[in-house]
Symmetry: C2
Amino acid sequence: MPYNIAVPVRDMDELIVRPVKVFREKLGLEVLLGHEATRIDRQNKEVFGYDQNGKEFSCPYDKLLIATGASPIIPDLPGFDLEGVMPLNSLDQGRRIKNFLATKKVNKVVIIGMGYIALEMAEAMAARDIQVDMVKPRKRFLPWMNKELSARVWAELQDQGVNLYPGHDLQAIEQENSQFRVIAQDVELKADLIIVATGIKPNSELAEEANLELGPHRSIAVDKNLRTSDGDIFSAGDCADAYHLVTGKKTWIPLALRANRAGRAVADNVTKKNTKLDGVAGTAVFKVFDLEVAKTGIDQNEAIEAGFSPVEIVIQANSRAHVYPGAQTIFVYMLGDKDSGRLLGAQMVGKEGVAHRINAPAVAIHNKMTVQDFSQADLAYAPPFSPVWDPMLVAANQLIKNM
Amino acid sequence: MPYNIAVPVRDMDELIVRPVKVFREKLGLEVLLGHEATRIDRQNKEVFGYDQNGKEFSCPYDKLLIATGASPIIPDLPGFDLEGVMPLNSLDQGRRIKNFLATKKVNKVVIIGMGYIALEMAEAMAARDIQVDMVKPRKRFLPWMNKELSARVWAELQDQGVNLYPGHDLQAIEQENSQFRVIAQDVELKADLIIVATGIKPNSELAEEANLELGPHRSIAVDKNLRTSDGDIFSAGDCADAYHLVTGKKTWIPLALRANRAGRAVADNVTKKNTKLDGVAGTAVFKVFDLEVAKTGIDQNEAIEAGFSPVEIVIQANSRAHVYPGAQTIFVYMLGDKDSGRLLGAQMVGKEGVAHRINAPAVAIHNKMTVQDFSQADLAYAPPFSPVWDPMLVAANQLIKNM
């Protein structure tokens, strides 16, 4: 949605991959919109709820999929329910933001939160010539990221004129005519529009009430076949958990690829095929203005928590060979386990050649590869794309020396 | 060198990473330039040869490294020794080409050969507004590449005004004043300058005369420690062979990263550290005008030859999410082994997002990953960089269906 919101003329409906018509007419599925499921009767295998007229309905099942997604966490503070205070969790909310921008004079936006959706929204607002302030309670900017790398992202936002206020507890939002004020500890920020991007939580209430087992962050616990603790009930998407390939433990990382893949795996598993998903590597990428920011695996804190003996390195390298003009600096952070030699994680920041580079350590993590073995990887080299030693290999070679 | 030759004002010396002074003064090494080694006395551990004045010299060794590189293959045909007929195997040759371009009127170049150096030179010449014709004996353009993908590269060259004449046996080069004529079967091509890029051969004569074991294409056979069949003699660089990680057999793929890595490994192995190099995955990338072209692993013919049961797929996918403007088409070719399920190779062509993408299947090949496991890889997704399902995952998912 941020990329759609950035461009006034684009229709939010472009984001719909398959309209409901396709499901009904082409796939022949019965789709009950406006029906809220409120209870699962596991004994009798039936779902109960209410339609849009408040009339109770029930629906029997052989197999059930809970794909309820996630919802934004809205701080329970005064003013967060005001008209001009908007989360970004549905196409309708996206339309509301676009409509607000189209009909009101918005020169200044405050974004609450600094995660990747918040950062993408900062870029979207800047693309519409709107001044952006960002504020959040936690002191550390991109807390999962190595500090040298997050400082690079911070610098990019400052270069682009975005003001960042981390470490300010939120207290209230106040409105005076069409002007809002975000009141936080030690700072007050004026805004014509406020976007709330303070993270999401899994929609697991229905599962919880049905006494299904929960995972991290109260997500719905599933096995590798996407089965919940009830063998006839599956869960997939942002509401469900997954195994982390580095720690072997459950994790909740609500991202599009896993959600999509899990949905397809459930389709396999409720029909004839047995599809097991091993888990997630923790790979993610986002764009912030001219920067590409990517990660895979775990960070140092997660490594300590999981019982590893983490060793880390940060290097800077050129994105292209020294003989080829236009090189940018790429920061590479790499984390290894001193005991097993395993590659535990990688992070990268740079103006080019970051987004796809991260897939190499991601695949390495799938294979529980050691840093030593990764350092021998036969990676692609040509002057326009990389130095002879890819920045990732430089990082791996450096990291080995500390292991 | 092609990228340097493309820009008149750039000095060829920019390509020198470390001048000989560094080796002599900073590293304290004795460097004998202008000394040709002509014989190795393995029994007495001594190298013999001649200095630039034709005076014999000898040099004893404890350990010996043969890093003699490779030489261009110049067809043994009339006219290939003419002044305006130039290979591209040394900085001096590069300087000669640049000097020729600076001092003569060159409107038209014929490039003999269509490998990646030939293609990079085509781009370099076009960047200097020189019309390019390319000719070679073999009928198939990029013979290692899947035909749908090589057709895409062909189309790009045609779009850029380069004329391609594969399948024409070379007969002679003739000169009339400052004009050359390349005479091939059924075609004659006029040129002001002729560049010969018809491949290279390893400089293994010295090793062969010393009765060291040879590998594919008469390269110098080395084990994983870069030792030749004589335990005190090592070889590294474009003259030496390597194990191929897919076939487990010896191969000769003279590329910069392996050469560099092998040199460092020899340094380890002649000092205290034991460094073994497992081998090469066959990863390579090059740029042809606006196209990125990349490969890793083996092709179908190599797979059949190595006893695999190859299954292949070609898909086309967008380089970015459908919601993000500016997407380009990426062609992905993927090759798997029906018997073991292993991923054997991948090839990609596209205007963006190809060069670094290839590193993911390259790492998969290092780990002997199956196509099925690769299809579960947690790859990076954000709208500016990829669809939710990365083109490589789309290819893997398709390929599985045929396996």
